[in-house]
Chain length 208, copies 2
């Protein structure tokens, strides 16, 4: 409908602006508390070591918790509050982009609102869309939300260090993901202990 | 706006129908994978032992995973799929109520879509609204979503058995909840090992 098409057009404008500034952008969607922020933090550190300049837009309904974590990494970051919207949209992103020094950024990470439904229909203009779930949500996240996983470029199954205590089978989640999204790369990670982060960086095609 | 008011009016109708049938109803909202289904399952078992007849509406975007879990407890249950809606609404509930034998139900549990934003504005006509979060989402869920916690009758902090391995402080989450919702009862639970379930049942005022 009109709202969605207007968003897609604005997403195209965002994509163009990012490209013109040589910025590679990734939209991190995923379940609430699945580890999106920690994963981005770990990637930022790895990129910094290679001289790649990261930046982050922290999407949250309220507060600046994630923004304050990103700032710790000495990067440009902006807190994007949506109030009651359960997803970021291209409009919010286009405004945020105006507050960044785009020529000083190589890779932009956008952390979407924790939600496996709403962000689906609102592309932001990024090169990649990632969906993050964690084993602590149980093993049925993919079966319950097939659509968002179907459009992901990369699916991340995080907190694998807790799979045993949760009695959750990562291979089961992985095969569910493969069946709804046969061409998507699936990464298993433990962001806390920095397992699988390098593999995720290469799955994202970040020139690193 | 009009949509919200229409929902509230329909919620009133649902409440009236439930009251006329002597049914006590609880709306279980909360984060994705926080343990809503397992908590309801444990409560159903406890109620059955006391001769209290429970029933459940399993709200999910897709699939009938939770419905099939509820059915195992030999109760009336209905799978309510929303498609792309990120919250149940009074309209969906009014339809589901027509498919239940209301005179054979004492307590109705409605499991809402896993989401800490959208269900807030859509009361369903229940006696109580509960919000469930788990320690595995981190310790900032309340700070990031103050509004939904503000309207909860009971707040459940689940998976406390994993607090140590997550290095999450339950007392911190509890005090955050107390400050945004001073009059709300806060229950700490471990649904997996059936800790805190009786306290939750009494906090919900279920005549048990
Ligand atoms: N054990 C373990 N804990 C993790 C892992 N990744 C993240 N965590 C923890 O999980 C909690 C949530 O992590 P966040 O990075 O805030 O997750 P998020 O998806 O950004 O959360 P929201 O933005 O609030 O939706 C924190 O307590 C993290 O320390 C992991 O791989 N293993
Ligand atoms: N260790 C532990 N695991 C739990 C606890 N409660 C639930 N789980 C597990 O957490 C996972 C999710 O539980 P569910 O009951 O499906 O959670 P839910 O909130 O209904 O999930 P959705 O309906 O998909 O949003 C399952 O693997 C459960 O076994 C708990 O208190 N402790
Ligand atoms: Mg975050
Ligand atoms: Mg459930």
């Amino acid at each position: 409908e009109n709202l969605l098409r207007a968003n897609r057009e604005l997403a195209e404008k965002n994509a163009k602006l990012l490209r013109e500034n040589g910025i590679y952008a990734v939209d991190f969607m995923g379940a609430i508390g699945s580890g999106k922020t920690l994963i981005i933090e770990k990637i930022l550190d790895r990129l910094k070591k290679k001289g790649i300049r990261g930046a982050a837009l922290a999407g949250d309904v309220a507060g600046d918790d994630d923004y304050r974590r990103f700032i710790e990494h000495d990067i440009q970051a902006i807190a994007v509050n949506t109030g009651k919207e359960c997803h970021l949209d291209a409009h919010l992103i286009s405004h945020s982009l105006m507050d960044l020094s785009l020529n000083e950024i190589d890779v932009l990470f956008i952390e979407n609102i924790g939600n496996l439904v709403c962000p689906m229909d609102f592309p932001l203009g990024t090169d990649k869309r990632v969906v993050v779930i964690s084993v602590t949500e149980g093993d049925d996240m993919v079966r319950k939300h097939p659509m968002i996983f179907g459009l992901a470029d990369v699916i991340v199954i995080n907190k694998i260090d807790l799979a045993d205590v949760m009695e959750v089978d990562c291979e089961r989640i992985k095969s569910d993901a493969k069946s709804v999204s046969p061409h998507t790369t699936i990464c298993l990670t433990d962001a806390k202990h920095e397992v699988g982060i390098d593999e995720l960086i290469s799955a994202l095609d970040i020139q690193a």
